[in-house]
């Protein structure tokens, strides 16, 4: 039997606050973090958003990060610190103790603020860390990898200086900043599949573990609000001026949100060898492409259906085994109808409790896959179902979401994250 992939740490930051405890309290109390714009510089001030309730300066004070980082990197750092602490993984926050590979990435810009490419740097990092070897004597990278998902990256900085780019504009740069600061990682990479980015980071991480490249990988995603993508979603006319109402007949779009969440993933043997506390098992995953339209989902939810089925098959579970589904459920007419069609195809008449937690956090886009994965772990650990806020009017085209429950013994949870371009992913978390 394939070795299990276990989760030994979790860190999360969202509109509900900083840290695992704040999320649990708000989810159980039914308290939404969606509110009028407070920190983002934008002309679109009449749109409700799910902002992390801290300014950049407050995030810098909380994490110890220097000034000038993209907000995506600050949110990532806050979530990573909690995840590493929970997993009892060593991290350094002293600049001078960083390993060589990343020590230079934090400051590799010239006098004009231009960054040098890091391709060669990565090769150097591997050359230096290639001390382990596999059965055939080939070198393997040692240490811990960071796999992050984002789309905004440093756009919040670039949009202020354009036509000049911020040196931290790229998705990778926004990952490298917290990676370098923490000094625990020997390699980092970034997935960018729009709103399923963080979910896909877990799949890549799982494959790094299964193939023996690493025995520990930290994966997740981070996304800050930006004027750029608030305007982008506004131009697509899919933002609701009221709090979003997923699966409701009156739903009229989504509210954007921001945040970050990371999980520490390990092979079960590595986790047990170091005596780590195991929170849950990543028992299945699926990634499929709807291959229908750049921004719209197909009527029968083909990509979503395939992704959920793959996750069940990999975990060796029948649909009846699932105790809760955390839906993508954005609140757009198209997504929720398409996802409902897919859920009905997978589960038939025996639909387990389903809810979308986006009314709590807003749609945290690239980070939603990991923030909602963290919510699933909370539900699994603490035995509750997150309620579906703002649901009043059933829509025949949609499933009827659950209104939350306490004292529920959950064994298996599905967590959906779907992105533009039909990049659909589903994760399956199980109790140990």
């Amino acid at each position: 039997m394939q070795e299990r992939i276990v989760i030994t740490g979790c860190g999360v930051v969202s509109a509900l606050g900083v840290g695992w405890k704040a999320q649990a309290e708000a989810l159980r109390a039914g308290r939404s973090g969606v509110a009028p714009v407070r920190y983002l510089e934008t002309a679109l001030r009449d749109l409700p958003v799910g902002e992390v309730p801290l300014s950049n300066a407050q995030l810098e004070a909380l994490t110890g990060a220097p000034a000038g980082w993209p907000r995506t990197s600050l949110l990532a750092l806050a979530a990573l610190q909690e995840a590493l602490n929970q997993a009892h993984l060593p991290s350094t926050t002293e600049g001078d103790t960083l390993p060589g590979a990343f020590a230079r990435t934090g400051s590799r810009s010239d006098a004009e603020g231009r960054v040098s490419p890091e391709g060669r740097l990565c090769a150097e990092a591997f050359a230096r860390t290639g001390s382990r070897s596999d059965a055939e004597g080939r070198a393997l990278p040692s240490g811990v990898a960071l796999v992050s998902g984002t789309t905004v990256g440093g756009m919040d900085l670039t949009e202020k200086t354009f036509p000049r780019y911020s040196p931290w504009h790229g998705c990778g740069a926004s990952t490298d900043l917290p990676a370098a600061f923490l000094g625990v990682f020997d390699w980092a990479t970034t997935l960018s599949t729009a709103c399923s980015s963080a979910a896909n980071a877990f799949i890549f991480a799982a494959n790094l573990l299964r193939s023996g490249q690493y025995s520990c990988v930290v994966a997740g995603g981070s996304e800050s609000l930006s004027d750029y993508h608030l305007n982008g979603f506004n131009s697509l006319m899919i933002l609701d001026r009221e709090p979003c109402r997923p699966f409701d007949a009156t739903r009229a779009g989504l509210n954007l949100g921001e945040g970050a969440a990371y999980l520490v993933l390990e092979t079960e043997s590595a986790a047990r060898a170091r005596g780590a506390r195991i929170l849950a098992v990543l028992s299945g995953w699926g990634n499929a492409c709807d291959a229908f339209h750049q921004t719209a989902s197909s009527e029968n939810g083909e990509g979503a259906y395939l992704a959920m089925n793959q996750a069940l098959t990999r975990a060796g579970l029948a649909p009846e085994a699932i105790g809760y589904v955390n839906a993508h459920g954005t609140g757009t007419p198209n997504n929720d109808a398409s996802e409902s069609a897919a859920l009905r195809r997978v589960f038939g008449e025996a639909l387990p409790p389903v809810s979308s937690t986006k009314p709590f956090t807003g749609h945290t886009t690239s980070a939603s896959g990991s923030i909602e994965a963290a919510f699933c772990l909370l539900a699994l650990q603490e035995g509750f179902l997150p309620p579906q806020l703002h649901y009043h009017t059933p829509d025949p085209a949609c499933i009827v979401p659950c209104q939350g429950a306490e004292g529920v013994a959950l064994r298996h949870i599905l967590c959906n994250a779907f992105g533009f371009g039909g990049n659909d992913s589903s994760l399956l978390f199980s109790a140990l």
Binding site: C122, L140, A288, F292, G421
Partner: protein, 190 residues
């Protein structure tokens, strides 16, 4: 872990090929240069490998569809109404999803964007999935476009289009793909 074989490698230099056979005039007008070059390379690579429908599509892009981002940002800065098409086609996974839509490919689809590490990551993703037996074939591409403003920030960025087809089958293979996470020089690198 199974060996992974290279079945085709197609690269474009700065000069564009003729897209006439690939795209109708209307499609060609709607699609940016980066997307056209990516589609051309991917189509050629799949043809050369005699692989009409890959099991997986994995894309690397160091910065994404930057020309569309700049058009959208420019409109925002100027106080004009920004165009939804520019936003839609500015997300990094635009390229990979376009390839999937054109091929009708419902298989695994992912995009890596981490400056110089994008290509290594995308190759590693496909290599691991084939080696582990999850998929048999993968189309892996590395696509970027340079603009003066972006080059001012990162001089290493360049117009780039590389597509390779990988497979578990040794039949007709051009070579073996080493573990991209540990090998020094990657296939398709300049």
């Amino acid at each position: 872990m199974r060996p992974v074989y290279i079945h085709s490698v197609v690269c474009l230099d700065q000069t564009d090929p003729s897209f006439g056979t690939l795209l109708s005039p209307m499609e060609a007008r709607r699609m940016g240069r980066l997307l056209k070059r990516a589609l051309w390379c991917a189509t050629r690579a799949l043809e050369e490998a005699a692989c009409p429908m890959p099991d997986a599509i994995v894309t690397a892009t160091d910065y994404g569809c930057i020309a569309n981002s700049e058009a959208f940002l420019g409109a925002l800065k100027a106080g004009d109404i920004p165009r939804p098409t520019h936003f839609m086609q500015s997300t990094h996974n635009t390229i990979g999803s376009l390839l999937a839509i054109r091929l009708g490919c419902h298989g695994y689809n992912a995009t890596y964007s981490h400056r110089g590490a994008s290509w290594r990551s995308a190759l590693a993703d496909a290599w691991m999935q084939i080696a582990l037996g999850d998929v048999e074939t993968a189309l892996v591409g590395w696509f970027d476009e340079a603009t003066p403003a972006l080059q001012e920030m990162d001089p290493a960025v360049t117009d780039r289009a590389v597509a390779v087809v990988l497979s578990s089958s040794p039949e007709g293979a051009k070579g073996l793909l080493e573990n991209p996470l540990t090998c020094e020089r990657l296939i398709g690198e300049p």
